[in-house]
Amino acid sequence: MYEYAEAAVEGALAAGATYADARVVVSKQEGIDVQNQAVQSLDRTEQAGVGVRALIGSSWGFFATADLTRRAATAAGERAAEIARASAVVPGDPIQFADVDVVQATYETPYVEDPFAVSMSEKVDLLVGVTKTMQEVDGIAIATGNLTFYATNKWFVSSQGHRIHQHLVESGGGFDATALGERESQRRSYPQSFGQYETGGYEAVRKWDYAGNAGRIAEEAAALLTADELEEREADLILEGSQLALQIHESVGHAIELDRILGWEAAFAGTSHLELPNLGTFRFGSDLMNITADATLPGALGTFGYDDEGTPAQRVDIVKNGIWLGVLSGRDSAAIAGLPPGGMVRGDGYNRLPMVRMTNVGILPGDSSLEEIIADTEDGVYMATNRSWSIDDKRLNFQFGTEIAWEVKDGKLGRMLKNPTYTGIGPVFWGSLDRLAGGDEWIHWGTPNCGKGQPMQVAHTGHSAAPARFRNVRVGVRG
């Protein structure tokens, strides 16, 4: 497949590009949805093509085609250069490009069990079984389960001499139970909302023991219908790990994207409250807040060998002891900021322009445990599993809802509470972090649905997190 990427790069250079790179991507995806013991959809998607990026002056030109022939690839390179040249109608400063080592390499996701080799009947039986278990609980009207598997081969070539082949494998899924009341619905999910996804094979599904958790999840959903509402007040808030993972994703991960900080996403995704002159001095949170962007974590969803500019996967300190130290960057954005490129540029398939994306942006583990944190809390709320998420375009003001909560009184879990929400301002909220779990409770949660860019791109990102406590948070906000 390298020959098509090479042809595309040659076409772009011949048409006047000062730099060009191309990716041939061949991918397949298998998705299974089951609802109330019946298969809703079984879908297999294959995608193959070449996307080429050409740099002229102040703009990238990008062109993609599914026609994998030398002729079409060369023409794609020429079109990419033509598009970049048309941008000169509304020009800016020429794009600079930070240096990276030119490498010729291969990378393969380690996995134990090829998810595409596991029989379809085993996968369907698993989901039919968990939905049956959930339906057996009184009050459960809808029980769904899903599994999705991805295998992606990428061949990357640049005009600077990169030649990189990667084979990435991702697996995951989950299930949920919905109980319907007269004027409300209540849902519980496992392992987290939208499922848990990881790099790796079918072992990423097996380890979560779907069958052993289906009954509990359904019973909690049914019980929520008669639970008390969480009252609006200020309280000490304990977050379960997957909810903290999404909190990191939204209020830290997107805020540290350098393209947002530079204004490149202003009209759509938004900007950031972070300003580059404050890098190294801005207090983002308490001393317990230690965030890294680490694309090398085994099994985490945002793990790979090289990004889509050929920069090696790496670990970058983002926040250390509460102080903001790092950003997510690519070669062009890093050059403007005067920083080393972070290897965080990825495109969604062959037909999308690579852009700054999260890798594995997570919090380093603490030395406590959920049990200890609850025991240490006099008057608080414990919230688990995301239900809704919303944050402003500077990534400051957020409001999250979770599926379930329990009141915490005198060091013990108390009443179950429904419709829990909490709201806050990013750095104020992170400044109130005072307890953080670790050990086995520190998990590489995966987010398979991070949207960004125009045309829209979906990225798979990882977020290591563990249960944590935040002091004096506004909870129970509703309309």
Partner: protein, 443 residues
């Protein structure tokens, strides 16, 4: 014969009599010119073909999609799909294939837009940027041209072309931003200067905003904000699957809205975009959702229609097996009053240019949280007086449109971006009696 039609027939032939099959084939291009900090920084285009196949082998159903459309690749694609289907349990709810039926003759296409050049998009961007007179501009101009063909083994065979052109952007001051949006079937309809001027005016007028006190306010919602409400109603409410599962707020035949509220789905309207058939080959037509405040209909695909004992409304989309069928050519009825007239009636309220990052808390109650963005203003004694910082709200959308709560509908209906997808919502400015703002965006 177009390439898309040829592809659909090829795949159907490859399946032969081994299964009931339906094929959607597309060919075309998508191009998007993106700008920020007042210059074009990302400029992309793609061409390609796609084939989607759903087949049923004795009631065992599977679907597959591919972008590889060589004869050899399609042969392997079909065999793999057949093998997958054979492994499935029988789907007792399989509704069968759409029977042969004629589609509306409407064609929302403009040849100049189908293959619009990067230069044409760049000129629109230049006009938008120049209209800001030094303000910082960001946004995009997108053109799309696509041919879609459907064929199934029951004999239904239809095809159509469609185009769209969109210009959307903001101008920014140091303390504010203003947004504007235009969409049409034809790129020639887009006026970059006019769109840019509106965004620039909103940005300038919303400079140096103050923090308004949270609480219930009367609101004037510009079309972008109304489009967000409409898309939530459509996706979570007027959805035949959600209704059959008991998750929708919809009560057919009940007066659930103010009598001024009218909402329908109609790809055959001359102002709409898209093709007049769905991914199951069912013809699309006019579907009343709300008439004079009374809920009249929901969108159906063949499976939800069978369950409800009605006919499909032609609202199957890719993924609707799981998500359910949704309306994608939505119109909200416009009024006869000008926007200024609506504002003149407000003693104290908030004008909202657009919402941002809205997420549903419970589909059954339609309570949604989100923020305002790109132009929020205080209205006092019938006129806009000051700019307001972005505000967070938590609001029941059905409740906000309830009996007596729509205080006016303007005559400015147009395509508005709903935050989730442009070109699917054609809506006016509305004046609503109450909206629950829970705080300012920055604390």
């Amino acid at each position: 014969m177009s390439r898309a039609v040829d592809l659909a027939e090829q795949v159907l032939d490859l399946v032969g009599d081994r299964a009931d099959a339906e094929v959607v084939a597309t060919e075309g291009n998508l191009a998007l010119t993106r700008f920020a900090n007042s210059f074009i920084h990302q400029n992309v285009a793609e061409v390609g073909e796609t084939v989607s196949l759903r087949l049923a082998v004795d009631g065992r159903v599977a679907s597959a999609r591919t972008t590889s459309t060589s004869v050899q690749a399609l042969g392997a694609f079909v065999e793999a799909a057949l093998e997958t289907a054979a492994l499935q349990p029988v789907d007792d709810d399989w509704p069968g294939l759409a029977p042969p039926a004629a589609i509306d003759s409407v064609e929302h296409v403009d040849d100049a837009t189908y293959d619009a050049s990067p230069g044409a998009r760049a000129e629109l961007v230049r006009a938008f940027v120049d209209a800001g007179s030094g303000l910082l501009a960001a946004g995009y101009c997108q053109t799309e041209g696509r041919t879609e063909a459907f064929a199934n083994s029951a004999g239904q065979s239809v095809s159509g072309r469609h185009t769209s052109a969109i210009l959307d952007g903001i101008h920014q001051t140091g303390t504010s931003a203003g947004t504007a949006h235009a969409a049409s079937v034809a790129i020639a309809d887009l006026d970059g200067t006019a769109v840019g001027e509106l965004a620039a005016r909103r940005a300038a007028e919303s400079a140096n905003p103050f923090d308004a006190k949270p609480g219930d306010y009367e609101v004037i919602l510009a079309p972008e904000a109304v489009a967000t409400i409409a898309v939530f109603l459509g996706f979570y409410g007027f959805n035949g699957k959600m209704l059959s599962e008991g998750q929708s707020f919809v009560e057919l035949g009940s007066r659930q809205f103010d009598e001024q509220f009218q909402m329908w789905d109609d790809v055959t309207d001359s102002r709409a975009m898209g093709v007049p058939f769905d991914t199951e080959g069912t013809p699309k037509g006019h579907l009343d959702l709300v008439v004079d405040g009374v809920t009249r209909g929901v969108a159906h695909n063949r499976k939800t229609a069978k369950k409800a004992g009605v006919e499909s409304t032609g609202n199957s989309i890719t993924g609707s097996e799981s998500w359910g069928p949704v309306p994608t050519n939505v119109f909200v009825g416009g009024g006869t009053r000008s926007v200024d007239d609506l504002i003149a009636g407000v003693e104290r309220g908030i004008y909202v240019s657009a919402f941002n990052y809205c997420r549903i808390l419970d589909p059954k109650t339609m309570v949604v949280t989100g923020l305002t963005r790109n132009g929020t203003f205080m209205i006092e004694n019938g006129r806009i007086t000051e700019a307001v910082t972005n505000m967070r709200f938590t609001q029941g959308f059905v409740d906000a449109l309830g009996e007596g709560k729509i205080l006016g509908v303007a005559d400015d209906a147009r395509f508005a971006d709903s935050e989730f997808a442009p070109g699917i919502m054609y809506v006016p400015t509305m004046r609503l009696g109450s909206w629950n703002f829970t705080g300012g965006a920055e604390g």
